[in-house]
């Protein structure tokens, strides 16, 4: 790939991100602005922003890479990423918006009336956030290496610096604009090259799918996934999305519960549209860049494909396009995570001041940078999938039971979260360290969600049942707050005249 063009693409995306961040600064003034954009973000903006934040390195690069390696089994990933949002819509979006909490620990504290539950939730949220940022930085390192020939760490460092700058200066308000911009950037960055590629292929008389050869299972490098693996993966992705800290914080920017639902529905459409494209890249990659599958470089498929098919300057420009989109993905997901982590850390450590938020943002980005520099990527889609399994086993029971079950107690929630974290974290760790040596255990440990998620739910319910006297006295009020609709029409005549102005 042409180094100068690659560098220019990275620089342009970073500059655009910082500029929009600075533009946001001018309208971001209060703590409310900093944390959640004062909840005045319109559904379309918000939906684009949610999509922008959610589509990470795993979606942009990882899905196509995985299709290259494991063929049709890889398609469960985008299906799960999207369907996770459906679960979010069904069980979480409106009640969580109505809870009035800023972060998941805020929700835990309010619902369970317990500082201990808050602390445990905070720790888990920070762990999840850090683990999720690491693959983004791995993706940035890979992209930097391929696009510019510079060492990988430069890519990770650039992402962290740009994110910290834009978060520290603008907070969530500008992040919303940045994220919304980045969804459309990512979509365009994948769609434009794909249209060109398809035109070039059909123009030269080739079938884009090689007459169906692209779908031949013989191209798969990995063995067929078992039904267990696919089901466990789907459980992880469906229930993990509920608990992702950067996804949840977005819902607080909706004006009310019904708007939260409408926004989520829009997001589903945006995600469905987006995932069409990584899939096409993966299929084309099976024909045109098959050698990447064997060399552990499969995540580079999206980046290298345009240059393989389209020659000369046009190829360089299309490559620059996908590089820019990839960087947008790393930047947007990382900044979303940093905002939500900073929200949590600053509340718990710095008593929620704006200065504390800034300091917390720096902390939240630097730790995963250290981890990313010290580790190697093991496949982006896979490592993000592991984070989903962990979230599904820890934060998801707290949210689902907290919203829908009056019997939840703080002790029960803590027991469930801790046991889920130990079981899921332990098995993922064992699978990473021991690997194939585990024999028949490798699969249930490497893809643990199918049993750790039910286990975490079970522990939460059993312990809550055993501690009925710990039920908070406020539960009736909280449930009413979570589930009753906000006022849709203003009935108070005094208020109405104040609202509609001179026309009345």
């Amino acid at each position: 790939m042409n180094t100068a063009v690659g560098l220019a693409a990275v620089a342009a995306v970073c500059a655009a991100t910082v500029l929009i961040g600075i533009y946001g600064l001018r309208i971001s003034r209060t703590t409310g602005d900093f944390y959640v954009a004062s909840r005045t973000v319109k559904p379309w903006w918000n939906a684009s922003a949610i999509g922008g934040e959610y589509i990470s390195a795993a979606s942009f690069l990882g899905v196509a890479g995985l299709i290259l390696i494991s063929g049709i089994d890889a398609l469960w990933f985008p299906v799960g990423y999207t369907a996770g949002y459906l679960m979010l819509l069904l069980f979480v979006s409106a009640p969580l918006r109505r809870s009035g909490a800023y972060t998941i620990p805020d929700f835990a504290a309010a619902r369970l009336d317990s500082t201990a539950a808050r602390r445990v939730t905070s720790l888990l949220v920070v762990a999840v956030g850090w683990l999720y940022i690491v693959p983004q930085l791995h993706g940035a390192a890979l992209t930097m290496r391929i696009a510019t020939g510079l060492p990988g760490w430069a890519g990770a460092l650039i992402v962290v610096v740009v994110v910290v700058l834009s978060v520290v200066t603008g907070g969530m308000r500008s992040i919303t604009f940045v994220q919304a911009f980045q969804y459309w950037l990512k979509l365009t960055a994948l769609a434009v090259p794909v249209v060109f590629i398809l035109l070039v292929l059909t123009g030269s008389g080739q079938s884009p799918t090689g007459g169906g050869a692209a779908f031949d299972p013989a191209l798969d490098v990995s063995g067929d996934a078992s039904l267990y693996r696919n089901i466990s993966l789907i459980v992880a992705l469906l229930f993990g999305t509920l608990g992702l800290p950067h996804v949840l914080v977005r819902f607080y920017t909706n004006p009310d519960g019904a708007a939260a639902r409408r926004t989520t529905q829009l997001v589903l459409g945006l995600l469905a549209l987006f995932y069409l494209f990584p899939t096409i890249y993966g299929v084309l990659g099976r024909l045109h860049t098959p050698r990447l599958a064997g060399g552990g470089q499969s995540d580079a498929t999206v980046l290298l494909l345009p240059g393989r098919i389209v020659d000369g300057l046009a190829g360089d420009l299309l490559s620059a396009c996908v590089v820019a989109g990839a960087f947008a993905a790393f930047l947007s997901t990382t900044s979303g995570l940093v905002v939500s982590l900073a929200g949590v850390v600053s509340q718990d450590l710095f008593r929620g001041s704006v200065k504390g938020f800034r300091l917390a943002a720096v902390l939240s980005a630097i730790v995963p940078l250290g981890i990313a520099m010290g580790t190697e990527s093991l496949g982006l889609a896979g490592s993000v999938g592991a984070v989903f399994a962990f979230t599904a086993s820890t934060i998801c029971p707290l949210l689902l039971l907290g919203i829908w079950w009056r019997g939840l107690t703080d002790i029960g929630a803590i027991a469930g979260m801790v046991s889920g974290a130990v079981l899921c974290g332990g098995s993922l760790l064992a699978a990473t360290v021991a690997g194939p040596a585990l024999g028949g255990w490798a699969e249930p440990l490497g893809q643990p969600a199918a049993w750790t998620v039910p286990a975490a739910f079970l522990v939460t319910v059993v312990v809550s049942r055993a501690t009925p006297r710990r039920r908070p006295a406020t539960v009736a009020r909280v449930m009413a707050r979570l589930h009753t609709p906000e006022r849709t029409e203003v009935r108070d005549p005094v208020f109405r005249s104040g609202k509609s102005g001179p026309a009345n």
Binding site: L89, L227, T279, L349, R477, E486
Partner: protein, 159 residues
Amino acid sequence: MSGGPDSGEAAPLPDGGAPLPDGDAGLASGGFRQRVRVVAPRSAAPQPPGAYTFSHELAEQSEIGELFVRSLVRSQLRLAVVVAAGFGLILLGVAVLIALVPVTATLTIATIPLPWLLLGIGIYPVILACAAQYNRGAARNERKFRDLTADWTEPGAKQ
């Protein structure tokens, strides 16, 4: 963890209303602009003005209100579970179909095998349809709740 809980935590779910309670109180009572320290309320979400109805107050305070809320929660949960289960069944059906009926792999449309079409494209409209269905149902449940509570609160509202 040096930052202990502040006063905001004493009332876990503050009333909807002023986005930043300290600040607004200072402006309203003083009548002049005074310096306001802006700190994040622990869980005090700024609500749209007048976000909560009489029905909401009723729901929080009275026994009959609590009954209404319980029935609303039940109907919303039932709706969500039904939609989720329906979607889950479709998903499981696709997985089983692909895994256990190998003939699906030989059916192709424009050279693309049926399993790829189902997972790569076909499932997404199903997800969107589920979402639309749920949103309609959830709004309907809330409308019912509002109508129900309006009957109870109407006399009180006319005082």
